[in-house]
Subunit: 392 residues, 2 copies
Amino acid sequence: MARQIFDDAEYDRRIERTSDRMAERDLDAIVVTDPANMNYLTGYDGWSFYVHQAVVLAAEREEPVWVGREMDANGARATTRLSEESIRAYSDDHVHSPVDLHPMDYLTGVLEELDVADGRIGLEMDAAYFTAKSYTRLQKNLPDASFEDTTLLVNWVRIEKSSQELEYMRQAARISENAMRAGLDAIEAGVPEYEAARAIYDALIGGADGYGGDYPAIVPLMPSGDHTGTPHLTWTDREFEEGDPVIIELSGCRHRYHSPLARTTFVGDPPAEIERTAEVVVDGIEAALDAVEPGVTCEAVERAWRETIAAHGIEKEDRIGYSMGLGYPPDWGEHTASLRPGDETVLEEDMTFHTIPGIWGDDFGVEISETFRVTSDGAEPLAEFPRTLFST
Amino acid sequence: MARQIFDDAEYDRRIERTSDRMAERDLDAIVVTDPANMNYLTGYDGWSFYVHQAVVLAAEREEPVWVGREMDANGARATTRLSEESIRAYSDDHVHSPVDLHPMDYLTGVLEELDVADGRIGLEMDAAYFTAKSYTRLQKNLPDASFEDTTLLVNWVRIEKSSQELEYMRQAARISENAMRAGLDAIEAGVPEYEAARAIYDALIGGADGYGGDYPAIVPLMPSGDHTGTPHLTWTDREFEEGDPVIIELSGCRHRYHSPLARTTFVGDPPAEIERTAEVVVDGIEAALDAVEPGVTCEAVERAWRETIAAHGIEKEDRIGYSMGLGYPPDWGEHTASLRPGDETVLEEDMTFHTIPGIWGDDFGVEISETFRVTSDGAEPLAEFPRTLFST
């Protein structure tokens, strides 16, 4: 029996909205390879994205078709509502094959059966996991098809969240709060970085209020000391030292939905310069949140941040946030709207963003972030966590 | 100051071996996008593979060139020995850009400066993260280049491990032992799956013998009950029930090196059928390990397994293992040699494999795995963990 995270009506709505966008572009089918998009359209959930897999949505067929590896077909049966004829699996000799056999050869057969082999087919050309080889193989196998780049087609459908999606994001926010508290409590001089990561993981997986946490799409990041200027290093055996600034960025995850949160702490008594910088960051993020409401553009939200910090004498122009929600490694971002100069996306109710502005000095950085929902007249931060510089 | 996980001589050797393979194929440069291959050639380590990045190795230049996002350049400075001129970063407007700007445009400039723009350039066409768009963009930008598929070129260099690599894999094995013990101890009727995952993570990150654990390239997998036939589902809120078989597959990770381990447990008293099946799996894996020695082919190892279980009346032909070591999400496998029919790769000393055979009944599966090194005359399992069916 399949466990369903959303009811049928929600999947129907997602497919309908996606089909509408396909119709606008006169597409006969799309091949969806981003695991988050596969999940969005079918519910499929498994750590199987290290082999080629896809969901095919054809204009003439209501039910999407899941295509993957034989041993994962039972995973599709367990996590989707798809009928047996819509679960199509290739044999294991397609996997890292020493002979000339590629999962896209099998997918080709599925597209032929769906009668779209000579049609207009959308491909997620720039999605992680849709490799160059997958593309050249489909080109070779389907000389009569015309391929269109539909990289963000489903992602743009995902940008407005349903109430059930928001419920999972709020659950993720509870987990984020617990994990941030655990991380801040664990950090002190002499403690190795991995012990802080361990405390964070305990809360991330332990969940909140009686439910568990999924693995997040990005591991907890904890740049410290002179590494606060480079955000994507992970923990090591190094011990925190008196005088280290430490940025913690993490996200709880619930049914693959995230609510990221970042805070900055200081090992010891923070110097006045860092405290002042943190105040500017708080002023700036609050100005950005105040600017949020339906009808406002993404770039206007960034402008509110930029003008606020400029009043403190700091000039910088950055991407300070992005639309997010459902995700798998390597990313929880949706890659659609960004809070940055030039992005004219108009905010609508129930969009969700992670805004993560920061200011860097010569040898430290301060970041404070919020995940928020656009409400009917403002912004609702999903987590409740003091917006301040912490210290040990 | 860069933290170096390996000494200079080791990186020199890796680059030399890679260059030899490039020379055999008359390549002027290779663009390496697999994060494990990037790490292997330079030491670069960061959770930045959700944006496009690469290491370029040119035939005429000893030092590789790291190409990535501006905010990750400090990560390259912190984790590699590359000189400043070999760290090349693109501005943030290339990231999820609403305008027509792609990181491969920047990479094109680097290839031009390296004077290989009209040369023979190797691309990892089927590596996760090297997208179709990256390829078509390079094609468009470099009309005079001739592109070759070098998907596994560096991976094949990685197949034989150095003594330092083996040391990190042995450290990872200690972590795997701790994590497996923690998982087995946590599982009992009434315990939610996520609590077992939490116990496993505590050991995975907490490390062993005073060193910490990295995040593994694949999260702990714990298919249970009738899901033991589909290996890639992750934990949920479901409580383990009396009568559940549970397969735990996990890996400790140390400096990105893995030593995966799988065991099967049973909630309650295992039925005789499962006990018998487990005995066959143990017999089979031990026959496979006994068959390992330099000069033997991969398929001969699988054959030893297959013939052993056939003597118990079980007929199946499977991939029962693969070369592995260094890795990032989504996979710790190297995608080169597999222990399966038809793979004629000849084993050599210091190759490392994860062999994970299994047998499935109608409503249960039993898997028992070992990570082993090929020694001068046999196989050395890296972890010491009882090879048996467990029960709660």
